[in-house]
């Protein structure tokens, strides 16, 4: 009467596999949001950055220099 149905281990196994799949997918999506490649669509940013450097407002950073100051 108290015996578990024969399909119970298979169901639990399937749920475990589904959970691992879900978790992998969730973590990979998060990683893609944190580290991402970019292409042409961000060329507007590139133009702004080039403009800041060429105008002399933004200069290369060297260790020992306070961050955020040219």
């Amino acid at each position: 009467m108290n015996e578990e149905p024969p399909w119970m281990p298979a169901l639990l196994g399937a749920l475990a596999v589904m959970y691992v799949g879900y978790e992998l997918n969730r973590r990979r999506t998060r990683l893609r949001r944190i580290f991402s490649t970019f292409d042409r669509e961000e060329s507007v940013i590139a133009e702004t950055l080039e403009g800041l450097v060429v105008s002399g407002r933004l200069k290369p950073y060297f260790p020992g220099q306070p961050a955020g100051q040219a």
């Binding site: 973590r27 893609r32 970019f38 590139a46 950055l49 260790p63 961050a67 955020g68 100051q69 040219a70």
Partner: protein
């Protein structure tokens, strides 16, 4: 005489500081292999100051990053400049501090117009988590400086694709549970 020398030195310093820096962020095709002693990346830190904890942690480790990336150029934007840049890309507002890396080398045979990659540290809640990702990123930049196809390397290593990536994610998940 001494004053004149001092004046000449000051003038020369001023001249050096005033020389505009040439910069071209476009990726180029290369015919030979990647020369490890040549510049590969232009690196920019964009930080408006939304995420103060993460911002502080990242800024305190910038000298270290600059030493690891000594063959490349690192630029640190002020909060005002960061706002100016993010106004051009509003989707990235709130993702900062962002480390934006322009790759000077175009991956061979790619039709996609890859330009580089970025690390959105502002998406991390805790400074410790952000530092761990920052370290991983610096390790990636240092170990893959001579890779021809960085686009592929980013997907394999940083996005943890493939079987090895799956193992890495599961290991991280189990470490979090312990």
């Amino acid at each position: 005489m001494h004053e004149e020398g001092h004046h000449a030195e000051t003038t020369s310093d001023l001249t050096l500081n005033e020389v505009p820096i040439e910069i071209d962020l476009r990726a180029r095709d290369i015919e030979d292999g990647v020369d490890p002693s040549r510049q590969r990346f232009h690196i920019f830190l964009i930080d408006t100051g939304w995420n103060t904890g993460v911002s502080k942690a990242v800024r305190s480790h910038l000298p270290l990053m600059a030493r690891f990336a000594k063959d490349d150029q690192l630029f640190v934007l002020s909060p005002e400049m960061s706002v100016e840049v993010l106004r051009q890309a509003p989707d990235l507002i709130g993702h900062d501090p962002i480390i934006l890396v322009y790759d000077l080398i175009k991956p061979p045979g790619k039709t996609r117009s890859y330009r580089g990659f970025h690390l959105n540290l502002g998406l991390m809640r805790h400074p410790e988590q952000a530092l761990a990702r920052f370290q991983e990123f610096v390790r990636f930049l240092t170990t893959h400086r001579t890779a021809l196809d960085l686009d592929l390397a980013v997907r394999r290593k940083l996005h943890s694709q493939g079987f090895q990536g799956m193992i890495k994610i599961l290991r991280e998940a189990s470490n979090e549970l312990l």
